[in-house]
């Protein structure tokens, strides 16, 4: 059993020669790069690697890279010191941080919003796919918690961004979905209702930094009830999203 586990361990973590060749190798192109003890600006610099020396890039965390020098010293280097560093074939390394342009050309986006749904609280999560810089499709799930009733809704909608190059990007949205309302048990016995729902809305988004986007929106819902009147609901939400 001990031998077997030893073999398994070796299979998982063994063969250091192989592990050494796994990492991305680069040649320092700046006059020098500084190795910090941790992945942050405040961590002290404990080692310096000169121009022309080879380094292994082990991993990346946010804007920091864990590198290993030829002598085996390990430390964290900020992205700003690695953008000019070359890979071993002489090509610049592609390690740029995401920026506003990446947001314009994004494909996938995820976000969380919270706010007010006609007096009740609402939390929404959504995922979106962008067809162009102007048009994207979204699928969202919202949980509603109120004093009189709770519920949830699922919506699919199309987003149109007329001016994706602006700093604050306005958008319009149109969609449909399903809402489920569950009145609270302490009140008079009312049946749970599931209805179709449609909405129009508008909002703004603004790029913050990295993969972060701030978002605020207003939506006007029409609940297609089985009664004579359709219900109208206003919703205001704030939140943030990431893009990939």
């Amino acid at each position: 059993m001990r031998i077997l586990s030893a073999i398994l361990l070796f299979a998982c973590f063994g063969n250091p020669a192989y592990a050494n060749t796994e990492f991305y190798q680069a040649v320092v192109a700046d006059p020098y790069i500084e190795l910090h003890t941790g992945p942050g600006q405040g961590y002290p610099i404990f080692h310096v690697v000169d121009e022309g020396e080879k380094i292994d890039i082990i991993k990346r965390r946010t804007s920091w890279f864990r590198v290993r020098t030829a002598r085996g010293v390990k430390g964290w280097v900020s992205i700003s010191q690695l953008t000019r560093t070359l890979d071993t074939s002489g090509e610049p390394t592609d390690v740029n941080d995401p920026g506003k342009d990446d947001f314009t050309t994004r494909r996938w986006e995820m976000g969380v919003l919270a706010g007010d749904f006609e007096g009740a609280n609402v939390i929404s999560t959504y995922g979106a796919y962008s067809f162009t810089a102007n048009i994207s499709a979204e699928l969202s799930f919202s949980q509603i918690t109120g004093d009189i009733s709770n519920g949830w809704m699922v919506n699919a909608n199309i987003i149109h961004v007329p001016f994706p190059e602006w700093r604050v990007m306005p958008f319009l949205t149109l969609g449909t979905g399903v809402i489920r309302i569950e009145p609270k048990a302490t009140l008079v016995q009312v049946e749970d209702r599931t209805d179709q729902i449609g909405h129009v809305g508008a909002g703004i988004r603004t790029y913050l930094s990295q993969r972060f986007v701030f978002r605020a929106e207003y939506k006007s819902y029409v609940v297609f009830t089985s009664r004579d009147d359709n219900e109208e609901v206003d919703e205001w939400k704030l939140g943030f999203s990431f893009f990939f």
């Binding site: 003890t37 991993k59 990346r60 965390r61 071993t88 592609d94 048990a185 930094s209």
Partner: protein, 221 residues
């Protein structure tokens, strides 16, 4: 006459062979030149297949935690759950978490000996939330003289939902935590969190503070 033709033929062969050797020599000379002028940059570099995208990016952190949670009026009990964080920058991270705890009878229920307020199923307290965290005080910790590791004291604020007593509550959570990296990719956490929501479960409507203390283990990937 025949001798003349013979001489002519001999000369012709001689010339031809001379020409051939001179061409051969010159071509050889060219070869030598090429050998001597070695290009400064050797184009025959073994190109690596690995691209920058292959650098292992570890911005996600998945963890489990366990501890104690005091649910206002319903006693303190063990809580356990899981969390997933995404580190956006060295300072900011986003965290989604889920936790659950069983609650006890209120003091009133125990002392009065009357009918219980809640069924056993309704005593289960579950929450989920999405929060924004900030590593306000990053630092380093030292154990003995041989081991140093990075740490963060972070503050966190978020919104979520609590499911308790057969009802759902919009919940605001805030707190602070301490994260110490054991190595490159394993971290331990100590967290204190207050989860506040408004309820009229015991008659009058009020905000309840549910304070949680937990210890966690997480992995960066």
């Amino acid at each position: 006459m025949e001798t003349r033709i013979l001489i002519f033929l001999l000369r012709a062969t001689l010339l031809a062979s001379l020409a051939a050797t001179s061409i051969g020599c010159s071509s050889k000379l060219v070869d030598i030149d090429a050998d001597q002028k070695e290009p400064v940059i050797d184009a025959r570099v073994d190109r690596r297949e690995i691209k920058a995208a292959d650098i292992d990016t570890e911005d996600f952190e998945l963890g489990i935690f366990g501890g104690f949670m005091s649910v206002e009026d319903f006693g303190s009990n063990a809580v356990y759950g899981a969390r997933l964080a995404y580190h956006v920058t060295e300072g900011i991270f986003v965290e989604a978490s889920y936790g659950r705890t069983d609650t006890e009878e209120t003091s009133f229920e125990r002392l009065s000996g009357g009918a219980p307020l809640l069924s056993d199923d309704d005593r289960l307290f579950q929450y989920y939330d999405i929060s924004l965290g900030y590593n306000l005080l990053p630092g380093e910790v030292f154990v003995g003289s041989n081991w140093a590791s990075s740490s963060d004291l972070y503050f966190i604020l978020g919104v979520g939902n609590t499911s308790f007593a057969g009802d759902e509550f919009f919940t605001i959570n805030f707190g602070a935590g301490y994260r110490v990296l054991v190595n490159d990719w394993i971290a331990v956490h100590l967290d204190v969190r207050d989860r506040v929501f408004s309820t009229d479960l015991l008659g009058e409507k009020k905000n309840v503070n549910n304070i949680e203390f937990n210890f966690g283990l997480s992995f960066f990937f």
